[in-house]
Symmetry: C2
Subunit: 342 residues, 2 copies
């Protein structure tokens, strides 16, 4: 199939055709086929190898102000892509260069070179440029270290712990000498966190009858750092157990992304007040000026075997919407990717 598309120079791409109201579904997306555009001077043509599905994209599907503008309706979705240069009119890129960037959910993207950068396929699997050595890894690195500021002996709790960001944040916290407790949505995930990633404890929030009690047993010295990917009731339970001067890293709120209107819950400012604690939101681009620092350190840890990772790979561009939807069903352990071509 893929070969034929190259020959006919047709380009499949995926549009957002309606805004999800709660949980997104397949009808929000549509695949179209268009000719591959000709390149102008300075442009390159990129064959998509892998594309990344990420929870933050749900926010961009909403027609509301957020840290990034909403995806326009009836246009091709944009996300993290690893691809190969198949044609270049840009002196900085050669055919067969492997690049990563924010590109189209399509077989091919055209770029003027500004939104892509070359990656070295010999350092690590090229897929890591979308995971542990890409946006999710940097998110974990800066969120945990810059906002969480973990100290040896402290207790770090991570929600969404088995996801692309949580798995990295937890392992870094272990490297910093912390007790690390993960919260995840299946026994398979909690076993993975403990047995393969070295978490000290992990709680399946879907089967526990008393999350607060399990958490307090897993954190006998209270909670110093909470790396939150989830929000909602999981976070409510954590907030009651934070220590003096605890740091809450607000990385994601996936439990709330599909709600029709803003959720209510226990107010947390009183908790922050009585504990002199802090909560800070962030997005990885806040640290764009330090991305090289983060990438160097993460690469070193990966090469040394100090950080491990897992990838879930779905085959076929046409399955990208389903892979995206799976993020909200807890289907992935580690990084969820879509393989578009070889």
């Amino acid at each position: 199939m893929t070969g034929e598309i190259v020959l006919t120079k047709m380009n499949r791409s995926i549009l957002l055709v309606s805004r999800p109201e709660r949980m997104p579904n397949e009808t929000n997306f549509r695949m179209i086929e268009t000719p591959i555009p000709d390149l102008g001077e300075g442009e390159v043509l990129i064959r998509t190898l892998y594309l990344s599905v990420d929870p933050y994209m749900r926010g961009r599907m909403r027609d509301a102000k957020s840290y990034v503008p909403p995806f326009p309706l009836n246009e091709v979705l944009i996300g993290g892509v690893v691809g190969r240069i198949v044609e270049s009119k840009n002196p900085d890129f050669s055919t067969n260069d492997i690049v990563v960037g924010r590109l189209k959910w399509a077989d091919y993207s055209v770029s003027n070179g500004q939104e892509i950068k070359k990656i070295d396929p010999h350092t690590a699997s090229i897929t890591t440029a979308l995971g542990i050595l890409g946006m999710p890894g940097l998110t974990a690195y800066f969120g945990l270290l810059d906002i969480g500021k973990p100290q040896p002996g402290e207790t770090v709790v991570i929600s969404g712990a088995a996801g692309a960001v949580g798995t990295v944040a937890g392992q870094i916290a272990k490297l910093y000498g912390c007790r690390v407790v993960g919260i995840a949505g299946s026994d398979e995930k909690t076993h993975y966190l403990i047995e393969e990633l070295g978490f000290d404890s992990a709680i399946n929030y879907k089967t526990t009858t008393n999350l607060k009690k399990e958490l307090s047993e897993a954190c006998p010295k209270g909670i110093d750092v909470y790396f939150d990917n989830v929000g909602g009731e999981i976070t409510d339970a954590v907030m009651t157990l934070i220590n003096y001067q605890a740091r809450i890293v607000v990385c994601g709120q996936i439990a709330l992304y599909n709600l029709e209107k803003p959720d209510v819950g226990p107010r947390i400012l009183p908790n922050l007040l009585i504990k002199s604690a802090s909560a800070k939101g962030f997005i990885v681009s806040d640290y764009a000026h330090r991305s090289q620092e983060g990438l160097s350190q993460l690469t070193e840890w990966v090469v040394q075997g100090k950080l491990r990772y897992r990838e879930n790979i779905v085959e076929g561009l046409e399955n990208a919407p389903a892979a995206f939807l799976g993020l909200f069903l807890g289907e992935n352990t580690g990084k969820q990717l879509v393989k578009v071509s070889d």
Copy 2:
């Protein structure tokens, strides 16, 4: 009356005899009269001149873990006091020294000298040691500057703006070149903030029909720093208007102190997330190691006339409970004090 008590060496003091369930009332307090204890070696006897009533004391009346242990029932309340040494067996203190410290709600307190410090009655009115040059002033100083980090041209919103802390925080923000908007509970207070303290705008939250709309008009460039003394619905309105990388200074939550059980409201972590914003609680003792720095700067500003203050003074130890209750009714503009003797 006061004279007689000195002569008979009897000491009136106020006990907490029951824990308030919602709004405290007079039945939670009882005045008793006991002999003034004899001094041991190293001790001083302090005649209370002024005592301070402060919102944080409500938290200590609850039998729950907080940053400070609860007041024990049937014991004398402890709070900020300015007094005169009337007898000294401590070489560091002489008769007639004026001191400030955390002492009893009583005509007299005995101290070993550790919880008191001398103040210079020539620098400013001795009452300021309980207000602008004391705990509330330092709270405003460290909260605003260390957590709020106001930058010239930024917009700072302050809830409870006419209180002992809010009035100082707002004036410091003006000294730092900010647009300052206060939220307070009467027209008299909002006029005071604008006309006498130089706030750019002030909103009476009790009479507005749309706090969010008034706030957004008063803050055309959004909100960069929110100094929160109040919490609850006022804070809900502010949170919808915060800017990228806004700082929320969680100083008090007086709207919630008298609720029977924890309140619910719109979740704020999504707001922090999409704005890369932070919220941090604190208590002034977090900055104990820097109190001299704060006090020197505040004193300089007061002496230079750059910071103004107002005090509400109620006469008579027996009226201390009523003055305390008044804090929750919004009766005070500026610092609420009780004058116990001349």
